[in-house]
């Protein structure tokens, strides 16, 4: 991989140059948290942020998306609304980039989803490294580093960003800045390594995931699920803020006064009581306990069987968002039967 470095005080200039490649979106402060938004000025960007409230999946799988317009004489006509918008997501963390690599598996496969694919191809990703806070367990989920899925990735090495160039487009952005980027020296790589091991030591949470699928099978009848079912409000917040939750509902709506309409897809959650409802009223996950169990089971066991890894990147958003403080790390530790422990 092509590796360069950029002086930190030249980042503003770099940001002004990349504007020619698309709309620049970055984390900004909103309501006491952070959200990816379109910047009106570069100074709004907050690259030193813990996590955004919603993950960047909102750009790739919007909360509401029109799949088709319906016109009586033409039938269902695909909508390409918004698919061509060139957006630059500036400042994505490794776990969030990793989550897109996971979603790529779901929205690829034998039936590639053309809406997701189009957005994925049009959205430029510039990653930046981060220091874990009290909710982060990305290292346990093997998502604290990401080796692909970005155009550029910046590692903070003091006065410089060590810059990984992931794609030809990333290289074009580098070249468009003229001689802004420099070749890194051996000392820069050493500084990277030093900070990498500091980051490793900064994790306050650790979960062992290796045999979690087996433990989920063994603990399927565990009383933990009923306990969680009592606590859970089925609000679905954890799904909405999860960067790897992708369940959606599909609904047609008719325009008033005409026979036209649209087919939309809307974020859904397996915690909602209608998720496993079938025709005639049969519900395969009627109880809240069965639904919260399903969410954990699908992420840590089902998805592993299907795609080879959990559909969790350890971003900590579900823990931060849960109104009744259901904590995935705690649940996994209880299932495993170990006390909270940190080992470096």
């Amino acid at each position: 991989m092509k590796i360069l470095k950029l002086r930190k005080d030249r980042l503003d200039f770099f940001a002004s140059v990349v504007q020619q490649f698309g709309e620049v979106h970055a984390p900004v402060e909103v309501d006491g948290g952070y959200a990816f938004r379109r910047l009106s000025r570069w100074s709004e960007a907050r690259l030193n942020y813990p996590r955004t409230i919603l993950p960047p999946k909102k750009y790739f799988l919007p909360q509401r998306e029109t799949l088709f317009r319906f016109v009586p004489e033409k039938g269902y006509v695909p909508s390409a609304e918004g698919l061509d918008t060139r957006i630059i997501l500036f400042g994505m963390h490794a776990c969030d980039i990793y989550s897109l690599n996971i979603l790529d598996m779901v929205f690829g496969g034998a039936y590639p989803d053309p809406y997701y694919q189009a957005r994925r191809k049009h959205i430029v990703i510039i990653g930046i490294d981060c220091i874990p806070d009290k909710h982060c367990f990305c290292r346990s989920m093997r998502a604290d580093f990401v080796d692909h899925g970005f155009d550029l990735f910046f590692y903070d090495i003091g006065d410089y960003y060590l810059t990984m160039v992931g794609t030809a487009l990333g290289d074009d952005m580098v070249l468009a800045t003229g001689p802004l980027f420099e070749q890194p020296a051996e000392a820069d790589v050493d500084e990277y390594k030093r900070r990498s091991s500091n980051k490793r030591a900064a994790f306050q949470l650790e979960v062992e995931i290796r045999d979690l699928p087996e433990i989920f099978e063994m603990e399927y009848q565990s009383g933990i699920w009923d306990e969680l079912g009592e606590k859970c409000l089925s609000c679905g917040s954890c799904s909405m803020v999860c960067p790897t939750c992708y369940c959606y509902d599909v609904a047609d709506s008719a325009d008033l006064g005409t026979r036209d309409g649209a087919r939309m897809r809307i974020w859904d959650s397996c915690l909602f009581s209608t998720h496993a409802l079938v025709a005639g009223g049969e519900n395969f996950r009627h109880s809240r306990a069965s639904r919260i169990k399903f969410r954990f089971y699908h992420k840590q066991r089902g998805f592993v069987a299907e795609y080879g890894r959990p559909s969790c990147v350890g971003c900590g958003r579900c823990v931060a968002a849960c109104p009744v403080k259901i904590d995935i790390v705690e649940v996994l530790e209880r299932l495993r039967g170990v006390q909270h422990a940190v080992s470096h």
Partner: protein
């Protein structure tokens, strides 16, 4: 502007869109059982009709413009191409809207989806079909596939039970199979209020007394309400069936049909991709399956 982001990627939205419903005309509506009509559909575009090649046990996504989309199992056999027959239970918004439509009206259709029955694996073996109530709808495709390719299968047995004769799907058609010598068609009803029923009266498992089944060379396909699974599965295991030779067709509310939306997920399988046909061995290993 670099060329890397100039590629016309949105073309796929038109050319390779797995969610694209295709117009199909209702050519016949047959009032088979109350609230379980048989809809015969033909694609408006002949090429799309020809390229729609399903396997017995697969399903299609049916769209009613402005109302929505629902998964429906295909009841016709691929050995009888040209039209698709969907046995649709009137149960929700989409199916209610379909029941308001008339012959010649247009609906949307896409598919086929799901794994279907492993017909090439079944070929060369005996086949036992056991259905209760509405469970005949997904098995009927396999039945006709076997009868239309009779030489590829050993003994073919159908055991089908409904509450009363009026509740029996495909009644006339199935009654006409009773006299066939190349298969054993066993039909039963729980009760016969009209006293006109000339076949068996009694519960479905009782039909095993009239069937000759050699578990070592037979695949069983089972579909019905939970009570059917409860008794039939027990019986099949007692007869010595291997758990992976008992095939079941499951119902889930797919929203996409192609393994994305998450609605039909059971344990670690998607009903739409890995099913809707599962073996009994799968069922034991997947929680909440039936």
């Amino acid at each position: 502007m670099p060329s890397a982001i100039e590629a016309p990627v949105t073309d796929a939205v038109w050319s390779a869109n797995p969610y694209q419903p295709h117009a199909a005309r209702i050519v016949r509506i047959y009032n088979m059982v109350e609230n379980n009509h048989l809809f015969t559909l033909r694609f408006v575009d002949e090429d799309i009709g020809l390229s729609f090649r399903h396997r017995p046990g697969q399903f299609a996504m049916l769209s009613i413009p402005g109302t929505g989309e629902a998964p429906i199992s295909i009841s016709s056999s691929p050995s009888r191409p040209g039209v698709l027959e969907l046995c649709v239970r009137r149960a929700g918004r989409v199916t209610n809207a379909l029941y308001r439509m008339k012959t010649n009206d247009l609906v949307g259709l896409r598919g086929p989806y799901g794994n279907g029955f492993p017909v090439t694996e079944i070929e060369g073996h005996d086949l036992l079909l056991a259905a209760g109530g509405l469970g005949m709808a997904p098995l009927r495709s396999l039945l006709w596939y076997a009868l239309d390719n009779r030489d590829r299968f050993g003994r073919v047995t159908l055991m089908y039970g409904a509450r009363t004769p009026a509740d029996m799907l495909f009644r006339e058609e199935l009654v006409s199979l009773v006299d066939r010598t190349d298969m054993n068609c066993l039909l039963t009803v729980d009760t016969d209020p009209g006293s006109v029923w000339k076949n068996h009266v009694g519960l479905l498992p009782g039909l095993f007394d009239h069937a000759e089944i050699d578990a070592s060379r037979t695949f069983a396909a089972v579909c019905g309400p939970p009570v059917v699974y409860k008794f039939i599965l027990r019986k099949l295991l007692d007869l010595g069936f291997r758990k992976d030779r008992i095939l079941m067709s499951l119902e889930r509310r797919m929203k996409c049909g192609v393994g994305k939306c998450g609605h039909c997920s059971i344990g670690y399988k998607y009903t739409c991709l890995n099913g809707p046909i599962f073996t009994y061995w799968d069922a034991i290993n997947l929680p909440e399956m039936i």
